[in-house]
């Protein structure tokens, strides 16, 4: 009953699984990934589509941050945004090959989420500046976009690494919402 809202996938909520990512977190995540990919490939060519994708990204970042204040436990920024101490401690454990497993985002993931959202917002802001004309703004926008792309690649690498270390499929969890306890 409690998992009725996830439809057919509720079957996969076998014993030992818990719902971690609420539907909004998942929808926002994959919409964000889609908008980013769209904005990146249309950047040089199809400007109207590029702008729509860009505004979409800014709206999603705003919505996600709002959800980070009022959403359920694992969606809240207070659950996963680490202070410097916690982040360094986690990275040290990671280097030693024995990081603790988290049900929500781990501290490195949490820091990466902040970096990604800030990078996306900065890229969006520099994109608006190009509307005022000038090669300098266009270059700034390109640099910002490429920094954000680098963060995205690191993000995906982090997801793969963490999945391997804890023998779980984090990508599937971000699709279904469920994780092993």
């Amino acid at each position: 009953m409690a998992t009725a809202d996830v439809g057919p996938r509720a079957d996969t909520a076998a014993a030992g699984s818990v719902k971690v990512w609420d539907p909004l977190v998942r929808v926002l995540h994959w919409s964000l990934a889609g908008c980013f990919a769209l904005a990146y490939v249309t950047g040089e060519e199809i400007l109207s589509l590029h702008q729509v994708a860009g505004y979409g990204i800014v709206a999603i970042v705003g919505a996600r941050a709002l959800w980070g204040l009022v959403g359920p436990r694992y969606a809240r920024f207070d659950d996963f945004v680490p202070g410097p101490g916690r982040l360094i401690g986690y990275l040290r454990d990671l280097l030693a090959g024995r990081p603790r497993r988290y049900l929500g985002h781990n501290p490195a993931g949490g820091a990466m989420i902040v970096a990604l959202l800030a990078g996306l917002l900065g890229t969006g802001a520099s994109g608006i500046l190009t509307l005022y004309g000038g090669d300098a703004f266009e270059e700034l926008h390109e640099v910002a976009a490429n920094i954000t792309l680098t963060l995205v690649l690191l993000h995906i690498a982090g997801v793969i690494l963490s999945s391997l270390l804890h023998h779980e499929n984090l990508v599937r969890a971000m699709i279904t919402g469920f994780k092993r306890v």
Binding site: L47, G62, G68, L69, D78, V81, P82, G124, I128, Y132
Partner: protein, 113 residues
């Protein structure tokens, strides 16, 4: 740690609102300013689209507009997102990049190359 997440969330919300607001202001501001300017100075002189119709200048029209304003040696006219980027020489003979509003034919901005 409790407050750290909230501070970041608030900062991101404020940033998103600021970026979205600026975008909106830029877009609506452009439409209004253009309409008023065209109407006030009666610039629709057959050398461009009718005032208020919101049509875009064609490449020959925009090139003529720019050359009337004293630019010479137009070597490149590029349509970018509804506006034109034109490479030409200014009155002093320097190579410049001119940004022209695609709907009004006005030079919005120019830079020495």
């Amino acid at each position: 740690m409790m407050n750290f997440g909230k501070v970041i969330a608030f900062a991101l919300i404020a940033g998103a609102v600021a970026v979205g607001g600026t975008a909106l202001a830029q877009q609506t501001g452009k439409v209004n300013v253009t309409g008023i300017r065209l109407a006030a100075s009666g610039e629709s002189d057959g050398n461009g689209p009718e005032a208020g119709k919101g049509e875009r200048f064609s490449v020959p029209q925009v090139a003529q507009r720019v050359s009337e304003q004293g630019y010479t040696d137009i070597t490149e006219v590029e349509l970018e997102d509804g506006n034109y980027e034109i490479k030409a020489r200014d009155k002093e003979g320097r190579w410049v990049e001119i940004y022209v509003d695609g709907r009004t034919g006005k030079v919005m901005h120019s830079e020495v190359d």
